[in-house]
């Protein structure tokens, strides 16, 4: 049984006095796609922020490739091989599309993802490569944000609510390309409010409810009723 790529054990996280995560544990195998679903405020983004080093858990540990990364600062996390596609895209507005992609690769990690490869995955970005990032539509910006994260050649990609604010057809288009992303063994954690897409893309699901893991398991084993119950906490 191979060691999991990422192991989160009993993590508690706080914003000041407010506890956002309670005893959360989660595991990701190499090459696996995991979905983390839950209502607004359930703690999904908080979990990703902890993994990415933007905040640190008060208790518990996060282990990546057998090394503890619980307290390493955000700017080190990419070097370890974890990249985050932030909630709301957050492209750099002063940079063009291409510059945004290039800065994603500025850590020069070796790997299959290059500018050319990203443009192959998202041809619309190649057409708009010299436009300032804010000139793109929401869906295009999301693609650019994903491309930017891929340029860092991570082993684990964290996607924070990539469907947020996008039309369903655009969301479908983006999700349709995800298999190309995972083809070479890249692992994915998808945080979503759009349950349908998340369940289609992932092999395993974790459902958070008010900071706790309310449900987890292989996607095919979980029924709609179980998920609804866990999601809404009834």
């Amino acid at each position: 049984m191979p060691e999991p790529l990422l192991q989160i054990r009993a993590v508690d996280a706080f914003y000041g006095d407010f506890q956002a995560l309670f005893d959360v544990s989660l595991g990701v195998e190499a090459g696996q796609v995991i979905a983390v679903i839950g209502a607004n405020g359930a703690g999904k983004s908080t979990l990703l922020r902890c993994i990415a080093g933007l905040m640190h858990p008060a208790r518990g540990e996060i282990v990546f490739e057998n090394t503890a990364v619980t307290h390493i600062p955000a700017f080190e996390i990419l070097k370890r091989g974890i990249a985050l596609v932030p909630e709301g895209r957050r492209l750099f507005p002063s940079l063009t599309v291409e510059e945004n992609l290039l800065i994603g690769g500025q850590s020069r990690r070796p790997g299959p993802w290059t500018l050319a490869r990203v443009y192959e995955l998202f041809p619309v970005l190649a057409e708009r490569r010299n436009l300032p990032a804010p000139a793109l539509s929401g869906g295009q910006q999301q693609m650019a944000a994903i491309g930017r994260a891929l340029m860092g050649n991570p082993r684990l990609l964290l996607c924070d609510e990539i469907s947020l604010g996008l039309a369903p057809i655009v969301v479908r288009d983006i999700y349709a390309r995800l298999p190309q992303v995972t083809a070479e063994g890249l692992s994915l954690i998808i945080v979503e409010q759009d349950i349908v897409q998340a369940l289609r893309a992932a092999s395993h699901v974790y459902c958070l409810q008010e900071g706790r893991v309310a449900l987890q398991g292989p996607t095919r084993d979980l029924t709609r009723e179980k998920i609804s119950a866990a999601y809404f906490g009834v």
Partner: protein, 288 residues
């Protein structure tokens, strides 16, 4: 013809003002920090050049080889060791800390060098002039300074928009948190920006030292010129800063021509007028 001469002199010194302003503008663009000690750092550079010329017997322009790296190093250390800790949402700490720094530098220089007025000698080039037309002369040194100022600003533009470092600076100024996710250590990025700013200040300081008398107390006036050039030209635009410097220089030159006591006042009045009529400056960039 006399007025043409006056305006020409004003344009040339405007280049120096633009150089004063470029460092200030850079730092504000990258980290929203206004360094109240900016003018005093220009004076510090002048004194470093003084020490270099005295210790190694070189002329001021050669001393740049030493002054620029020394000031850049000081800038890196200053940002990393002190100013990084003042950055944040509150505007008081960076303001008051750099104000305190200004007092420290001024009085440190006073203790070390006394209040005596100094000037660096650049040799024959100081008195060399070219005649452009009848009754129209241009000094070699002011011309060189102007050309260097334009070159420095062009180099900064190039750096910001054509290099990986420039990308990193712009990204960090846009969004610190996400910049970190790209693997950028923002403490280091900010320190590099400050080192860059002080490198520009170094050049400006040496030129100041050669052009005019300097003493520890003239820092605040340089800060004010730099600030006025930035505001007149418009926040966020390097070329706007050049234009601002030139306008300030010309205003002062015209004022001085009317009455020597009116030199500084003329500059301030033009600044206040632009503030009143077009507060965003003449050539602002959208993000500031």
């Amino acid at each position: 013809m006399q007025w043409l001469n006056v305006i020409l002199q004003g344009v040339l010194i405007g280049g120096l003002y633009a150089m004063f302003a470029a460092g200030l503008s850079l730092i504000f663009g990258v980290m929203r920090l206004v360094n109240i000690a900016h003018g005093d750092l220009i004076v510090l550079a002048a004194y470093v050049s003084l020490m270099a010329t005295q210790a190694f017997g070189v002329d001021p322009l050669t001393s740049l080889l030493l002054v620029v790296p020394v000031m850049a190093l000081i800038g890196y250390a200053l940002q990393r060791g002190l100013l990084n800790y003042t950055l944040g949402d509150d505007l008081l700490p960076p303001l008051l800390v750099t104000f305190g720094l200004s007092i420290i530098i001024q009085n440190g220089l006073l203790e070390a060098f006394t209040a005596d007025s100094r000037k660096l000698q650049a040799g024959a080039i100081e008195v060399q002039t070219f005649q452009l037309a009848q009754n129209l002369w241009i000094g070699a040194l002011p011309l060189i300074q102007f050309i260097v100022a334009v070159a420095v600003i062009a180099a900064l533009q190039l750096l910001f928009y054509r290099t990986a470092l420039g990308r990193a600076l712009r990204a960090t100024s846009d969004d610190q948190a996400v910049a970190q996710l790209m693997g950028l250590d923002t403490r280091h990025v900010f320190a590099v920006a400050m080192a860059l700013s002080l490198a520009v200040i170094a050049v400006a300081g040496v030129f100041l030292a050669v052009r005019a008398n300097f003493d520890p107390a003239i820092g605040p006036a340089r800060l004010i010129f730099a600030f006025e050039a930035v505001i007149i030209g418009g926040l966020g635009s390097m070329w706007g800063t050049l234009a601002g410097g030139i306008i300030l220089g010309v205003s002062q030159a015209i004022g001085a021509q009317i009455d020597p006591g009116w030199q500084l006042l003329a500059g301030h009045i033009v600044f206040l007028a632009i503030l009143a009529v077009r507060p965003q400056g003449l050539f602002p960039k959208v993000s500031g």
